[in-house]
């Protein structure tokens, strides 16, 4: 193919950018942030000195007061911060740590610090996902938001804009993590609702590591396909199992959903993501979930 390493590198680098999403940089916003950061830095320096002085004073008073002296505010009823109780339930989402790089990039042109607020249709799709949640989230499975995309709501649906070339078509996406199993790489999911996409057949998605692909046509004409893939990166000791479902719906929309998790290689053959094939099938055919 190529006999020159430099040529190979240039080919690889330019090809890797093939599905580059469009991004805008807002110079004015950057300038505002730079100025704010400067102020914060200066403020922190002043605040640090002040805090040090307060701490020293408090320490001094506490020492002087001693037993029988001024009562400690921390111990006064109704004041201060209560000591953490060992019975406080642990937030399972706090344990979900999935690298952001696992997620396909949701695309919001012109975004600088925060993705844009969801619009009316995003809100409607989010509501559809919430109302159908019990039908596609198995009992005991917790969906967790990601800091970048879903904030506090793991089913928050955001708009992304497709462009030409290799980018996904315009649509909406929700994505999050699924904790469980104690592994640092536990699982994640993504839901995409587009105005165009795969046609609900196995032929429309060929992936390395495919262990099966099923396709069918539902009574209303919706075409759906489900696929399981298992892939292992050499020398990593870990495999990723993924279940994906995609539908060309009778209402004309395209919905695709995938869930995956990383497991030790030895468990790969039997492993399943927390969202099962049936869950994902239910999800991609949810009434009202359309572009």
């Amino acid at each position: 193919m190529m006999d020159d390493g430099e040529e190979t590198a240039r080919y690889a680098l330019s090809t890797a950018l093939g599905s580059e999403p469009p991004r805008g940089l807002d110079a004015a916003a950057l300038i505002r942030r730079a100025r704010k950061r400067t102020l914060v830095t200066r403020g922190s320096a002043v605040g640090g000195v002040a805090l040090g002085a307060v701490a020293a004073t408090t320490l001094l008073l506490g020492t002087v007061g001693g037993p029988g002296g001024a009562p400690s505010l921390a111990g006064a009823p109704g004041t201060g911060t209560p000591a953490p109780s060992p019975s406080v339930p642990v937030d399972p989402c706090a344990m979900a740590v999935v690298p952001a790089s696992l997620f396909p990039t949701p695309i919001s042109p012109g975004v600088q610090q925060e993705p844009p607020s969801p619009g009316a249709h995003s809100a409607a799709l989010t509501a559809v996902l919430h109302s159908g949640r019990a039908s596609f989230v198995p009992a005991g499975v917790v969906l967790c938001p990601t800091s970048l995309n879903s904030k506090d709501d793991p089913l928050l649906t955001r708009e992304f804009s497709g462009t030409s070339d290799n980018n996904p078509p315009p649509g909406y996406t929700a994505q999050g993590n699924i904790p469980g199993g104690g592994s640092p790489l536990q699982g994640a999911y993504i839901i995409m609702i587009s105005k165009s996409g795969r046609d609900g057949t196995c032929a429309s998605l060929s992936k390395l590591g495919e262990t099966y692909c099923h396709e069918s046509t539902l009574g209303d004409g919706t075409k759906v396909a489900t696929q399981r893939t298992l892939s292992t990166k050499p020398n990593s000791g870990q495999s990723t199992v993924e279940i994906r479902a995609w539908a060309k719906r009778a209402d004309g929309g395209y919905v695709e959903a995938a869930a995956w998790r990383t497991v030790p290689v030895a468990e790969g053959e039997q492993a399943q993501p927390a969202l099962t094939e049936a869950s994902l099938l239910t999800l991609v055919t949810l009434p009202g979930l359309s572009y």
Binding site: R10, R23, G197, K207, T240, R244
Partner: protein
């Protein structure tokens, strides 16, 4: 708008996109790339009066490369092994090739990747890459050779697999 604000805005407009591409190639994630470029550009803005007649782009590139390498060293951001980036919707064939190439590039250690990106994407001479990364020219040469060898092998393998799969 102050004079240096106007100059900075012009610089962002002219070179921001390229910096984002470079950042993506360095870190392999568009979100992080965006964050990194913004961080780098904020530093560039704050250093603008000091940069003077120098090259803001070179400064931004240096900040970018060093930030990426530093971030990859921090234990909470250290690159973790993931087997595959699940692909995204869209039947276009080019997506597969792009994902394959991203995997190949991501397989390089961060410093090697930085050398390859700066040498063959930014087309910087060895001396400038050494300056950006704060290492010797001989290190750049050796890292470059190793990176190219690994990349060539991975690219060849990926192409072989793809050809066989289709």
């Amino acid at each position: 708008m102050r004079k240096h604000d106007a100059e900075f805005a012009e610089f962002v407009g002219a070179r921001g996109h390229r910096l984002q591409q470079t950042a993506f190639l360095l870190c392999g994630d568009w979100h992080r790339a965006e964050d990194l470029v913004q961080t780098a550009l904020i530093k560039v803005y704050r250093a603008w009066p000091r940069i003077g007649e120098g090259s803001p782009e070179a400064y931004a590139r240096k900040v970018l490369a060093r930030t990426v390498i530093d971030a990859s060293r921090r234990f909470w951001r250290r690159e973790r092994t993931v087997t595959e980036i699940p692909d995204i919707a869209g039947p276009e064939h080019g997506t597969d090739a792009a994902l394959d190439m991203r995997r190949a590039i991501a397989a390089l250690p961060s410093r090697q990747r930085a050398v390859v990106v700066l040498r063959y994407w930014e087309d910087l001479p060895v001396a400038e890459v050494a300056e950006v990364l704060g290492c010797s020219e001989s290190t750049v040469k050796s890292q470059s050779a190793k990176g190219l060898a690994v990349l060539r092998q991975l690219v060849t393998e990926e192409h072989g697999m793809l050809e066989g799969h289709r």
